[in-house]
Each structure stands twice: as C-alpha cells, then as structure tokens.
Amino acid sequence: MVEPLALKDHTWESRIFFERIVLSFGLLVLLMLVLVARFFYLQVVEHDTYVTLSDNNRIQVQPLPPMRGLIYDRNGELLADNSPSFNLTLTPERVDDMDSTLATLDSILQLKPGDIDAFKKRIKRRQRPFESVPLRFRLSQEEIARISVDRHRLPGVQVEARLVRSYPKGELMVHAVGSVRRINENDARRLDPVAYSGIDHMGKIGVEKYYEADLLGQVGYQQVETDARGRIMKVLESNLPVPGKDLMLHVDSSLQQAAVAALGDRRGSVVAIEPETGGILAMVSKPGYDPNLFVTGIDHKTYASLRDSIDVPLFNRAIQGQYQPGSTIKPIIGLAGLVTGQTSMDFKIDDPGWYQLPGQERLYRDWNWRTSGAGGHGIVDLQKAIYRSCNVYFYELAVRMGIDRIDNYLALFGFGTNTALDLPEAKGGLLPTREWKRESRGLPWYPGDTVNIGIGQGDMLVTPLQLATAITVMANRGKWVAPRMLKSGSDLAELSAVPRLDSIELIPESVWDYIIGSMEKVVHRGNQGYGENGTAWAYIGQDIPYRMAGKSGTAQVVEIKQGELYDEELLDERQRKHAWFVAFAPVEAPQIALAVLLENGGGGSEVAAPVARAIIDHHLLGGTSPRVAAVSGGDE
C-alpha cells in the first residue's frame, strides 16, 4: 500500500508542542500547589495536633512479648515456668541527666560495677525510641520501696514487672532441661529483631535450646497513647502475642530425684531410658548448678567459681562426658562373638590370669590377677566370662574377631555416633577404627589395640547416654528406639519415631537369651562360693525382688587436669578409676534401662551397682523401698 506523502509540518508541530507543554506546565504548577496545600494543612491547620503528638510522641508501639512455653515432666510436674521479676528500667529519652540519675540510683541501690556498663551496652542495642532499658533485675521488695520514695526526682526511671524463666526444681533438672540465658550482642546479631522484640532471653542449652522456636511464641504489639512521663493513658490497638508451645518431657522428676539422692555428693552421671519408647526418664550430671542464677544475669564472681571449679558443674557429663566404657561392653562383644561364630556357647578357656599375644612378651592381665590365689578365673565359658567379668576370655575373643568386626557390632549399638533425636549437644564418643588411628595418630592398627578394645579400654570413649542407649537396645533384644527428651501429650507432636540406626536382627534369636541370661547372673548368681558369684551379687543381688540384668565396668582415668591449684590428696583421688554400672529391669518386660557413672568411684559392682539398684527400685517399686531410703539417707 502506498501511503500519501506526509510532509512534516514543522509549524504545526511546534505549535502543538508549545500548547501541550504550556498546558502540562500548568498542570505541574497545579500539582505543586496541591503539595503546598498539603503542607499547609499539616503544618498550619493541623499544627496543634501534631505538636502535641510530637511533644510527647504520645503514640508508641510497644512489643508484647509472648509467654514462653512451659516444660513439664511426664507426670505433669512443672520443670520450667515463667514468673514475674521486678526490674529497674530507664527510658533514656525521659531521663534529664543520665549521669546524675545513675549516681542517685547507685546511692539508693548500691549498683554493682558491671551494671552500668551492661546498661550502656543495652541502650545501644535498643530498637526503637522510648523503649525502656533494664538496669537491675529481680529487685527485692525493700529495693522497690526505696526507689518509690525517690521516684519523684528520678524522671524516666520505672520498676517494671516482666515474666522471666524460672526453674522450680533448680539444680535437680538443670542438665536434663537446659536453660535460657540473656541474649547477648552476638546472639542479637543473628536473631530476627522483630521476632525477639521485648524478649531478653533465649534457650541456650539443652531442651530449651533445641525447642527454642516452639517455646518462643509470637510477639504481639500494642499501640498506646502515653502521657509525657510515659504512663500509658490508652491502648489504641493491640495485637496479642501468641504464647509458645508447652512441652512434655519423658523425664520423671521423682526418678531424677532418686538418682541424685543415690549419687549423693559424689561426682557422676545417670541416664535412664524407657526401653519401649526411648524416652529419657532421668538425666543426671553431678555436680550441677542452679539455672535460675543465669536467667537474669549472673555476677562475675559466682560465674567464675562455677566455670573454674575442678568439679566442672557446668559440664553435662550425661551427654558430653566421654569415658572408657570398661567391661560394660563385654556383653556386646560376647554377642558379636557368638553371631560371627568366633566363639560359641560351649567354648571354654583355662584362664591363667593373663593373656599374651602370640610372639609378644607383654602380659595383658586380668583384673583379679593379684587377688585370686589361682591367678585367674579357671575354666571360663562366655557366660562366666560375663558374670565374672573375665578379661582374658575377651582378650582372646577380641583378637579372634579382629577390630573390623568388633567395630561393626559396636556401631550397631550406637557407639561412635550421637543417636539422640533432640540432644544435638550430645557427643558421639569415639569408636576407634583402623582409619581413625591412621588419620589421627598416623599409625597402623596393632593387635594390642584390639586386645584393649575387647574389655572396653584403650582409645574407645562413650558417654553415659550412649551406654544407656546400648543397654536399651539390649533390653529390647535389638529393637532400636532413638533416645529422646520430648514426650507426646503436649503441644508438640511426637518426634518422628524412626531411629537413626536399624534394628539388630540376630540369627539365632537365642543369642539374646544367652547374653541377657549372663547379665542376669551378674546380679542374681549368688551363694556359689568366692570366685563363682556374679560380680554384683554381693552388693545388690541378695534381696532383689525382681529380675535385673546388669554389667559393671571400670574405666581407667584417661585425662587428669594437672595443676598447682589442687593439693596432692585431691589429685590422688582424681586418679582413681571411674565406676560404671549398666542395667535393665525387669528382664521379662523391661521398663527401665540405665547407665550409672561415678567419677573416680572405684569398682563398678561395688560402687555403681547400688546406685543403679536404688534408681531401679524407685522406678519399679515406688518411693517406699527401704533401700532407697537407706541409700539416700546414708548420703545426706
């Protein structure tokens, strides 16, 4: 299509352009006048309104912190609560002269040296103006009264009630529940400032930490109108906070109490598990500390004494303490020997009291090498090797099996990894392998290393939780349940029940009966004459009203803190061996499986077994058992 020739009409164009741009400019001037009118309206007509608003900045948005979720034990007893704490706070905008105000407060309350520095740091972290900043926490009634008297000459100073975490059971539950601590600068940098508006604390240890997101809740806010002194005149609008979810734990406070009582003032740890669910019934690490100390800020001296104590009370032995398992793993090694065919139920050795690797001079001695007149356990089969805890049998069995097969079976019982579902802080222990030794030491694996592993010595390390878990798997005859703190029945659903390890299926099934039977003999085989009774029988087995399977262990002290601070006697005490006892009961239908550790306690059967018995008595027989009373009475 041919278009008609279109000549550019320049006069027309510039005329139209002129018209349009003048028109547009008129429009722009009009729009400018709209802006001027708007500013006139705000700055002249509504001036007084905005002056009053600005004078007090009366409209404020205040965050409403949510109630942190509560934590209950399995019987509904409160383990972590929120209770009001009266804090001294200052609103910097309303304080006329900060230095003199602080000086006045110092003369009224005798502030501690660190208080003012911490306060100034908190001012800097503040998110919005007119937000009050705490100076002192947990004021006593008397202090509140003294401040009230001088209130008129302290503008900007308030006493505010806030809900803070409190742990009604104090030290008893600290290592089971964990605790909240104040949010410090490092935390503040990675936290969402909106989600933590008005919140001073967060879970930093244990269950409180793991379930932080659930316990926290959702912050709300209220828009308020205040007077010039900051008192709320009217709540204009509020959006209520959503409280955090409540948790119920498997822990049984009364069992925990029984375990603490049974340990007395000795250092040690107890982990008890419900075999059916994997729920942790008790988790004790002694000594502990009062978590309430940390909630509102601990003073430096108290903290230093906790941190530097030779007894390391802040350290959770139950999940982070790593010790040699000693003879407690003999039943597992024995089970592995039977399954792999490296030994049999009929196989016997004649124990001279020592073992020698072929072609080597070194003697690996049995524990009764000196005490026994015969110099050994005599003729020993696997069952006797367990109930008499014969080392020589296991030396030989270990060498026959070789380290790889031993490692495979120990791994099946959870050694070398953290199998707990909601205890990320738990250590995985150490399951020594050829690769591990090559990488960490640059050395090949020697047969002598295998000999040591056979009786739970050498490089192998386990936590009390791991031993309790392994004995739980034993009690369940191979069925794995992952250890866990959270119990269903609270606001949170049951944790995914899939354990991290597969259940152990043995052929033949009767191996379980044999090994568990041997462990029963540890406790129940008695009146057979010296050298023939179960190792724990004399200490706990004579009057036991139910069937218990157990195994003692004694671990060499791997590492001693050396220093001039500790006197010789104390150091001497800390060189003594750790005592272990693992057990479950009743054998027919296990309701509790546990591991007891007494640091530098001595022999497992003698020292740790009575503690285990007292705890199991409490669980199966209730608090009325005479033995529970005797043990706890004797220690306190």
Binding site: K8, M32, L53, S54, I59, Q223
Partner: protein
C-alpha cells in the same frame, strides 16, 4: 545530513536573534546551573541536619554532587546529533542491562534491582532507563509525521512497555510507573489526539481495580491500603507515615529551627536521610522552608520547559520536555508519599536525598538538556 534543512526552518527559539553568550561557549545553561546548585546546597544543609550534624555523610554526598556536575558538563558538550544517532543502541544496551539484572542482579530484600561491577560499584540499570526511554521516543518521533498515527503510537507504546514490564518484574513498581509515565508524556507532547488520551485514562480507571487485586504483590497492596489507613500497620509502613506526618505537622510555619527537629533526631523518623528527608526539612524549617524548596524545584522545571520550547527540532523538544517531566514526577511522588497523599514507593527526593545513585543520571539528564539548548544554530 538529509535533515539539516529541517533544522534551519524557523522554530520557537529563533524568533529573536540572539548572541552567543558565555553559556553557549561552554555549552551550559547558566540559570539552570544556578538552580541545580542552589537545590543541591540546600539539600546538603538538610542532610547535615538529618545525619545529626556529622560531616562524613555530607562530604560523601558532596563528592557525588561534584561527580554529577562533571557528568553534566560532559553530557552538555556532546552534540544532540550524537545522542540521536546513538539512541537505538543505547536503548538496546539499556534493555540488555535490565535483562542482565533479571539473571545476574543482586537480590536485596526480595527484589533484584542492582548490577554489580566487581570492584567498581553497584548500579541500577533502571536509572539509565530514565534517560534512555525519553531518548528512544524522541528518536522515534523525530522523523515521523506528527501527530503520530495509530501504528506509531503502537510502536512507541512497545518501546515504553518493554522496560516498564522488566522493571516491574524486579519488582520495583515505583520506578516502573514513573518511567512509564514519562514515556507516555512524550506521546502527549508529540501531539497524540486527546480522544486517545481520554480513552486511555478511561481504560486505566476501569482496569485499576483488577490490577490492584491481581497485578500487585501483597506488600504493594498493603502499601496502598496503608496510605488509606496508616494506623492499620503501625509497626511497618504505617509507622513511617504516622511519624513523617507528625514531624512535618509539628514544624508549623517556620519550624523548630535548624538541627532542632525532635522527631528526626530522636530516631522516630525512619529513612530520615534518604526517602523521608523532606520531613526533616518540614520539621526544622517549617512551611517556609518547604515552600522555598518547592519554588526552587518549580523554577528548575520551568527553566526546563523554556529550554524545550526553544529547542529547534522535534528530537530536542521531546527529549527536553520528557527529561524535565520525569524530574518533576520524582519530586512530586517523593513529597506526596512523605506527606501522606501517595503510597510509599521508595523514591528518593532528587538532588536532596542521601545516597546518590540517581544523582549521576539526574545531572547527566540536565546536561543533555543544556547540550540541546547550546548546540542550536545561532544567528550571529
């Protein structure tokens, strides 16, 4: 140079014979330079107060202003013919950069607006589009018969639509709307029939609700709703508007005095150095201070209009008019949003807001204006 004869035909600017002044020699328009510097210095003073009388940010801003002036001088030396010849290539490059942002852009707060030149700087390609879109439209209409025919309107709407959609997808709705508006304005200046304009406005009004509910993201809808009822979102965008209105309103006729603003200095006022800086001015120097700034702005815009009227060809006229108009839209949208009559869209106040990624393009734009003005054929 087949168009050269066109340029010698009488245009508005040639009604009077004029002499080449100093400005023509250095290719600068002195009244405009004066107004730009006046606004910039006024802005520095407000900024000095807004940052709490620190010199650091003021020095940083001054450096950017100096760089902007240098860009302006350079842009003014280049002949309009060069701009016209380069227009298509600059447009293609601009679109390419916007596409590059889509793939390689830095994601900040959920939107991709920035390109990183490693080791040098980060910049927003949408900034460049503010100049390039007027350029391509002026180029397109330059040798077309005006008023534009429908198919010319169609093609020019395509030129506008591509960058607008790309920028809206970043998403940066505020910039996208402003760029779209400045493009449409070129059509208006080119003489498009009024009935088409009114038809477009009608269709827009009908489509607006649908666009509001289906075309906008949740936070964008929220901002518009917040404008209607600021109290509905007091922790977020509503807080800004409540506080900026309080700051402005409490300033009164003559303000609380320079450096005396309580709203801004007690940190009630958010973004007080960037998007909300005029609230600081309103609080401290009152209505008088605001009106002074508005007068300077309208004088600058007026000078821009005069330069575009005096331009001697279609390309120059359209480009001058469009750049001037874009500048005004930024001023109006920013001040309108801070004073609570427009939604909060995150547009800086030209020449005054701290952080001048836009300063360079602003000055370069005025440099182009001056180039067109001072490269006229002058009868000596």
């Amino acid at each position: 140079m087949s168009h050269d004869f066109v340029r010698q035909l009488p245009g508005e600017g040639l009604r009077t014979q004029r002499k080449a002044g100093l400005g023509d020699v250095v290719h600068l328009d002195l009244p405009m330079v004066f107004l730009l510097l006046a606004i910039s210095l006024y802005g520095l003073l407000i900024l000095y107060s807004a940052v709490g009388q620190q010199t650091g940010p003021v020095i940083a801003q001054s450096v950017k202003l100096v760089l902007g002036v240098v860009a302006m001088i350079i842009a003014a030396q280049i002949s309009p013919v060069v701009y016209r010849r380069l227009a298509p290539w600059m447009f293609l490059a601009g679109i390419g950069l916007l596409v590059a942002v889509f793939f390689f852009g830095l994601e900040i707060k959920g939107s991709r607006r920035w390109l990183r030149i490693p080791g040098v700087t980060n910049f927003q390609p949408s900034e460049i589009m503010k100049l390039v879109l007027p350029l391509i439209l002026a180029w397109y209409f330059h040798d077309r018969h005006l008023p534009p025919k429908k198919r010319h309107v169609f093609w020019s709407l395509l030129f506008i639509g591509i960058p607008v959609v790309l920028i809206a997808m970043q998403p940066d709705l505020g910039t996208s709307i402003i760029i779209g508006a400045s493009g449409v304005f070129v059509l208006l200046l080119a003489g498009i029939q009024w009935r088409l304009v009114f038809a477009a406005i009608g269709i827009g009004l009908v489509l607006a609700p649908a666009l509001f509910y289906f075309g906008l993201r949740e936070y964008q809808r929220q901002r518009i709703l917040t404008l209607l009822n600021p109290e509905s979102d007091p922790l977020g965008a509503g807080w800004n508007i409540i506080q900026s209105k309080t700051a402005i309103g409490s300033g009164g006729l003559f303000g609380k005095g320079l450096f005396q603003g309580t709203q801004s200095h007690l940190d009630f006022l958010p973004e007080s150095q960037t998007d909300f800086i005029i609230a600081v001015l309103g609080e401290e120097l009152g209505l008088a201070g605001v009106v002074l700034l508005l007068i300077l702005y309208i004088l600058l815009v007026g000078r821009g209009v005069i330069l575009s009227v005096q331009a001697q060809d279609t390309f120059g006229r359209l480009l001058c008019g469009s750049i001037t108009f874009t500048f005004f839209v930024y001023v109006f949208v920013n001040i309108g949003m801070v004073s609570g009559i427009l939604p909060v869209v995150g547009v800086p106040l030209p020449l005054v807001s701290y952080g001048g990624t836009s300063i360079l393009t602003l000055f370069a734009g005025f440099g182009i204006l001056m180039s067109i003005h001072t490269h006229r054929r002058i009868t000596l």
